[in-house]
């Protein structure tokens, strides 16, 4: 959280995270080029770098795509999510180096503009071995550029979270294009089936992980409905909510996070104003709901960030009756203070 924009809001965790990324990149490239030049001494350093950056970008993309569903399945992966955008920019830069080196090596030595050569060198759509795989990689690189270029919070605020998220969901299109780029490109000339196997395992891993996490999400997204004439709807039993944690229910077309803390219950919209993070998967720290993604905070009673910050989320009126939480399905405007519902018989209440 910040009152003005910085290039990067550095802190100790981010420095460690980025240090590990740089170390990993250097080690991978060093090993790829070192081992590659020993195993295939006839291969040039340029070719090894092209392949090293390409495989690293694809491997990083697999890691990036795994982080979201892994966090849904097991909260211990959340620290990986915290600075995922730096991993994304690193992946784009690796892809860019791969693309630039490949264009220089394979398309820059003739009379034709190198980019024109990339788009027009292969034109046989009916042939696997002569399929124009280069434009697929170029299109994927274009998507990854747009994502890296809009990774700063300024773009989130100025494009709006729904548009920003839609833009960044194009990563799945980029992944599909890159899988085709590899299958129709390097794998057509490769006699060793290990690369094909690695790519297939990676693809199955990504699809399975997303399906697994997706099925878990669907189960919790059943919209609550009113049981009687009362405007309030039964949401859950108080005992189902752990202290300083939330129970998430679906209401009014979106998820609601019902928090239990200090003998009280409050409910806010589950959608963090920053990147739409899942507030209900966070916890109450220093009296504030703390988003598990990037630590944005909101008071549970008002849904407003503590001053001087200005983020706000909608709140919901709640009641506790006979050990059950009842919730008004009509959200209050963002930042509206609501009275927390006291839990009868809770020792920490009052």
């Amino acid at each position: 959280m910040s009152l003005n924009y910085q290039a990067v809001l550095w802190n100790r965790q981010k420095k460690i995270y980025d240090g590990l990324i740089v170390l990993g990149v250097v080690l991978y490239l060093g090993m790829f080029v070192g081992v590659g030049s020993l195993v295939r001494p006839q291969t040039t350093i340029e070719t090894l770098l092209i392949r090293g950056f390409g495989t690293l970008a694809l491997a990083l993309l697999h890691v990036i795509l795994s982080i979201g569903p892994l966090c849904r399945l097991d909260r211990r992966f959340l620290p990986l999510l915290y600075n995922r955008r730096h991993l994304g920019v690193t992946m784009f830069l690796c892809g860019l180096f791969h693309g630039v080196f490949a264009i220089v090596q394979f398309h820059a030595l003739g009379n034709v503009n190198p980019l024109v050569s990339v788009l027009s060198s292969n034109t046989d759509l009916s042939s696997l071995s002569a399929f124009p795989f280069q434009p697929l990689g170029l299109a994927a690189l274009g998507i990854l550029f747009l994502m890296a270029a809009t990774s700063h919070d300024f773009w989130l605020a100025n494009l709006g979270a729904p548009i920003w998220k839609s833009l960044h969901m194009l990563v799945y299109v980029a992944y599909g294009l890159l899988v085709l780029h590899v299958v129709l490109g390097v794998l057509q000339a490769e006699t060793n089936s290990v690369l094909t196997l690695i790519l297939a395992v990676g693809f199955v891993w990504i699809v399975s992980l997303h399906l697994l996490a997706g099925f878990g999400e669907i189960a919790g997204d059943r919209e609550l409905t009113a049981a009687g004439s009362d405007r309030f709807i039964r949401a859950c039993a108080v005992d189902e909510i752990r202290e300083k944690r939330a129970r998430i229910v679906c209401l009014a077309g979106e998820r609601v996070a019902i928090f239990r803390y200090d003998g009280k219950v409050s409910a806010v919209s589950n959608v963090c104003q920053h990147q739409n993070g899942p507030l209900g998967e966070g916890k109450i720290v220093d009296g504030c709901i703390t988003c598990p993604w990037h630590g944005y905070q909101y008071a549970p009673e008002s849904g407003a960030s503590p001053p001087p910050f200005t983020e706000k989320v909608p709140t919901f009126n709640v009641r506790v009756k006979a050990g059950e939480v009842w919730i008004d399905p009509h959200p209050n405007p963002p930042g509206t203070r609501t009275e927390p519902a006291p839990i009868e018989g809770d020792a920490s209440n009052g």
Partner: protein, 86 residues
């Protein structure tokens, strides 16, 4: 894709990027302050970081800059419902 068509695509992309670069320089220096008040006190590192995005999204940013629009409000089902019912 034929070489002629590829030539047209690359030329169009080059033109779009060139206009974007010409636009992005004054935008990151001055325009961004008008579009988003939070940017007024922001660092030069931030302005460099948003430069590539300003090149890519110059038509949208130019439209907002000229019309004096600021950042769009957040919208989702709860926020929309809160607006309608109050």
């Amino acid at each position: 894709m034929s070489e002629q068509m590829a030539g047209w695509v690359v030329a169009a992309l080059a033109l779009y990027t060139a206009v974007g670069v010409v636009f992005a320089i004054p935008f990151v220096v001055r325009g961004v302050n008008r579009l988003d008040p939070v940017a007024r006190e922001s660092s030069w590192g931030f302005r460099v970081a948003i430069f590539p995005g300003a090149v890519a999204f110059w038509p949208l940013l130019l439209k907002r800059w000229l019309s004096g629009q600021t950042a769009p409000g957040e919208r989702n089902a709860h926020r929309n419902a809160a607006r309608l019912t109050r």
